[in-house]
């Protein structure tokens, strides 16, 4: 298992390098312009100078190498310096700067992580907590009223887009009932009970929207996996031996059914970091998803490039984790 992991990690390096190049090339080929949003009153010759100040006048490969150097050398060195307080060289090195804000991309990402992890991460956790019992009961009582309702709700949750459910919840709970705020306050510091309550209140709507979507997806998986296992021979054997129904279901069937579900959950973790672009935008959570979409709209190439590359790293990493977990959970699978 260990050598397998090492081998996969080694293989990930060239994969990621190719990914970074493809992203850079795609962004470069895209007919987008970082000055597209500026007022037309700014004349062309000034625009040319702004482009030059961004380094856009240099050839493609030079810009790619610059980014590689900034991302793989300067940024890690900078993190190291900040963590240890040791200054290497003169400490002055070019970091990956966003074009729109002219500030280091990594700082922006660090600033955005908390709200994304809180809202999108929580929604993922809640989604899983809802999905597993719903999936189990739906499968155990297949075609019962509960299963029918569960199937209906999960189908609706899966197929209705978040930009609809989000706005619907705002209209009902913010505009009409006025229970929850429609705008997420990223400045809120939780330091006592009342600010904690405020934090919960502002998280309710976005978390509900996302949890419904996540739960729908995972619940369908749990149900299908449970149904697969319920008809297996070992279940019949267990029942014939006189094992209690509760133990059959929760110990034998559930454990075996969760193996593919765990993989699906692990593969979904990177999506937490990439944020929920639409939901973050609707509730103004302003996390990583919103950061990415504003960067894409504004053609802020260093920011898009760095963010997408970090997502690529996470996806490669969690694919590996899912594979390893599979090997640990399922004794039939051996990699060595």
């Amino acid at each position: 298992m260990f050598t397998y992991t090492i081998r996969r990690l080694m293989f990930a390096v060239p994969t990621l390098l190719v990914i970074s190049f493809v992203i850079f090339a795609l962004l470069d080929l895209a007919p987008n312009d970082p000055l597209g949003d500026l007022p037309l009153t700014i004349p062309p010759e000034v625009r040319e100078q702004i482009r030059a100040a961004m380094g856009l006048d240099q050839p493609f490969f030079i810009r790619y190498l610059h980014w590689m150097h900034q991302f793989f050398v300067n940024e890690p060195l900078n993190i190291f310096e900040q963590l240890t307080g040791i200054t290497i060289g003169d400490g002055e090195r070019m970091r990956v700067l966003s074009w729109a804000t002219r500030s280091p991309v990594v700082d922006l990402i660090v600033q955005r992580l908390p709200q994304t992890l809180w809202v999108v991460g929580m929604a993922y956790v809640f989604g899983i907590l809802i999905a597993i019992p719903v999936g189990v009961i739906s499968a155990y009582r297949q075609y019962s009223i509960f299963d029918q309702i569960g199937t209906f709700v999960t189908m609706v949750g899966y197929s209705v887009p978040t930009f609809f459910t989000g706005v619907l919840l705002i209209v009902i709970f913010s505009s009409w009932l006025q229970w929850f705020p429609s705008i997420y306050d990223t400045n809120l510091v939780v330091n006592d009970w009342s600010s904690f309550v405020l934090q919960i209140k502002q998280m309710v709507l976005p978390v509900t929207v996302l949890a419904l979507y996540n739960a729908s997806q995972i619940a369908r998986f749990v149900r299908a996996s449970m149904l697969d296992n319920l008809s297996q021979d070992y279940v019949r054997t267990a029942r014939a031996k006189g094992v209690k129904e509760k133990a059959v279901l929760l110990v034998h069937v559930l454990r075996n059914s969760l193996i593919p579900v765990v993989t699906v959950i692990a593969l979904g973790v990177p999506t937490i970091f990439s944020g929920a672009i639409i939901t973050e935008q609707i509730f103004r959570v302003n996390g990583l998803g919103q950061l990415l979409i504003t960067a894409v709209q504004g053609a802020d190439i260093p920011l898009v490039q760095t963010l997408t590359f970090i997502f690529a790293v996470l996806i490669v990493l969690f694919n590996l984790i899912a594979d390893v977990l599979y090997g640990i959970l399922d004794p039939r699978i051996r990699y060595d």
Binding site: L40, A100, T101, S175, P181, N286
Partner: protein
């Protein structure tokens, strides 16, 4: 819970009562502003975007501002220099500003002429990529005569000398803070760009780029009783409709900028009674540019260039005029703009002195007249209902940027044109591509690989001289100049060039107005473009907010020091 609410209301009321008795700085709590396009930096010299210019205007200030009527107001100076008071040299080659005495930066140091000189140096430094550089064009020197006097010299007589340091685009930066951030080092000064020290009513407490700005009242602000608000929270992100909802329906916010929302949507939100809309009209005109050159793909490199030859059908003045006559501007306005627009036939729609009425025939739709005009010009309807002459069909590609209001307008216009035997193929292009100006892209508005294109343009400040130079013959975009040039219609008329040249040599305001009107009339009547809507700015404000004077000539937040909570 209910009792708690009553208690809370009582406390608020008691506080409010206390406030009105002691009106002064920081007594009105927090004012919450919503910009649905989030603010990226607080240094307008590095961005140039409207959102950055507006948000930074609460912190850093120019020497003079425009008020809501478009007239100049001395801001950090004692008076507006003129030839009469000796502030402007008789040969119009220099202007001298006298700074207000006793103005302090928010860190407590003195605001001096050196800071003004530094601001000029900062923006004109090579490799800095300063977005406002054009405002300093023609300036040979800015010098500090003494601590309170700044002299700006021009290379040639400038008959409208109020360009530099006037308006929200060019606020004064503090030399002490930015002295190590000049030229190529400018973008690296993140903490200065995110927290400029200013003379304005507020100072930056925390700036989260593309998210939220927290400001507090400036303890060293020159007016001891202002600002009434202790803090400002400026949140960014989301979309215009939900921003409108946050002010007009849920009342969570006090002010929402740029309400580009369909009029009927706003109408329903206003029914909640929590706020109102305010509008102001600057110089923005939504227009359809007419391509005077041939965009035929068969021409290859010569496509849409002067070398490629004239447009086969749009070079006929009758066709250009008929296209304009067939449009009902009132309906376009009603459907897409509401309070944010009014029909216009001018390309210079404001200020009042420049408004011409010569072309007001276009305000009334005249389908029959347009049909007759085309009949007389020899364009005959074919079996498919589309007019043609000598094998050239009146069938046009009509492009614009992706935006629901623009697509709505396109559909309306297409329908009216079909009534005069003109076919239109509609196309929309993502705004960042269309306005991006990438010379490699075929879809930019400069390349104009279409017959007609629609967008909005305007000019800064109140003087249109520079704006009118956009239609000069030498401003035509072409491969030779890398498609840089603002003369999108490829209009070229030596008589027009003469008028603009005369304008740049005229100092007398009445004479200037006459020339501007003449140039404006020429452009519309010759059909360089079809003006559609004079677009205003619309913002939503809470019913509990007082003192907002909506301004289209400067930052909308220009007088935030005077805002207060309604009691």
């Amino acid at each position: 819970m209910k009792r708690f609410k009553i208690l809370l209301a009582g406390t608020v009321a008691a506080l409010a009562a206390a406030n009105s008795a002691y009106a002064g700085r920081g007594t009105d709590g927090d004012v919450k502003i919503l910009f649905w396009q989030a603010v990226s930096t607080l240094n307008p010299y590095l961005s140039g975007g409207t959102k950055e210019v507006y948000s930074s205007s609460m912190i850093i200030e120019p020497l003079a501002r425009y008020d809501e009527t478009g007239s100049l107001v001395p801001w950090l100076v004692t008076e507006i220099p003129t030839v009469q008071n000796g502030g402007v040299a008789a040969d119009m080659k220099s202007i001298t500003w006298k700074l207000k005495p006793g103005v302090k930066w928010s860190d407590g140091t003195d605001f001096t002429a050196d800071d003004v000189v530094f601001t000029w140096q900062y923006c004109t430094a090579p490799d800095g990529g300063c977005a406002q550089k054009a405002q300093f064009e023609g300036i040979t020197n800015v010098e500090a005569v003494d601590k309170q006097t700044v002299k700006v010299s021009f290379s040639e007589p400038k008959y409208y000398p109020y360009g530099a340091f006037v308006g929200a685009q060019q606020p004064i930066l503090q030399k002490a803070q930015f002295k190590d951030c000049v030229g190529a080092k400018a973008p690296g000064c993140t903490s200065a760009n995110f927290g400029p020290i200013g003379t304005g009513p507020f100072v930056v407490k925390e700036f989260k780029p593309n998210d939220v700005i927290t400001l507090t009242a400036n303890p060293n602000f020159r007016d001891a009783d202002k600002p009434a608000f202790a803090s400002v929270t400026l949140k960014g992100g989301g979309d215009a409709a939900s921003a409108a909802r946050a002010v007009l329906e849920t009342g969570e916010y006090d002010y929402a900028w740029n309400m580009q929302v369909e009029p009927e949507v706003l109408e329903t939100m206003l029914k909640a009674g929590k706020g109102k809309l305010v509008n102001a009209f600057g110089t923005q005109v939504e227009r359809i540019n007419i391509n005077w050159t041939n965009p035929d793909p068969a021409l290859g490199d010569k496509r849409s260039t002067v070398e490629g030859g004239k447009h086969p059908s749009l070079s006929d003045p009758a066709v250009r005029k008929a296209l304009s006559m067939a449009i009902d501007r009132d309906i376009i306005n009603e459907a897409g703009y509401g309070a944010a627009g009014k029909p216009t036939c001018n390309i210079v729609p404001a200020p009042d002195v420049y408004i011409s009425t010569t072309n007001d025939w276009c305000l009334k739709q005249d389908i029959a007249g347009a049909n007759k005009l085309l009949d007389d010009a020899g364009w005959k309807k074919g079996p498919d209902g589309i007019r043609a002459k000598d094998g050239v069909k009146l069938s046009f590609l009509y492009q614009t940027s992706t935006n629901s209001v623009r697509q709505g307008t396109q559909a309306l216009v297409k329908d009216w044109w079909s009534q005069i035997g003109v076919a239109a193929e509609l196309r929309n292009i993502s705004a960042s591509v269309f306005f991006g100006g990438d010379p490699a892209s075929p879809d930019t508005f400069q390349k104009f690989y279409a017959d007609l294109e629609m967008y909005t343009n305007n000019f800064d400040g109140t003087d249109p001289e520079k704006y009118l130079t956009e239609w000069l013959c030498d401003k035509i975009p072409s491969p030779a100049n890398g498609w840089q040039g603002q003369n999108m219609p490829r209009y070229c008329n030596p008589d027009y060039d003469k008028i603009v040249a005369e304008l740049s040599k005229t100092g007398d305001l009445a004479k200037r107005a006459e020339l501007v009107k003449k140039a404006n009339d020429m452009l519309t009547s010759e059909g360089a473009h079809i003006p559609l809507i004079h677009r205003g700015q619309v913002s939503a404000i809470s019913a509990k907010l007082d003192g907002v004077r909506m301004n289209a000539w400067d930052s909308e937040l220009w007088n935030i020091a005077d805002w207060s909570r309604k009691k």
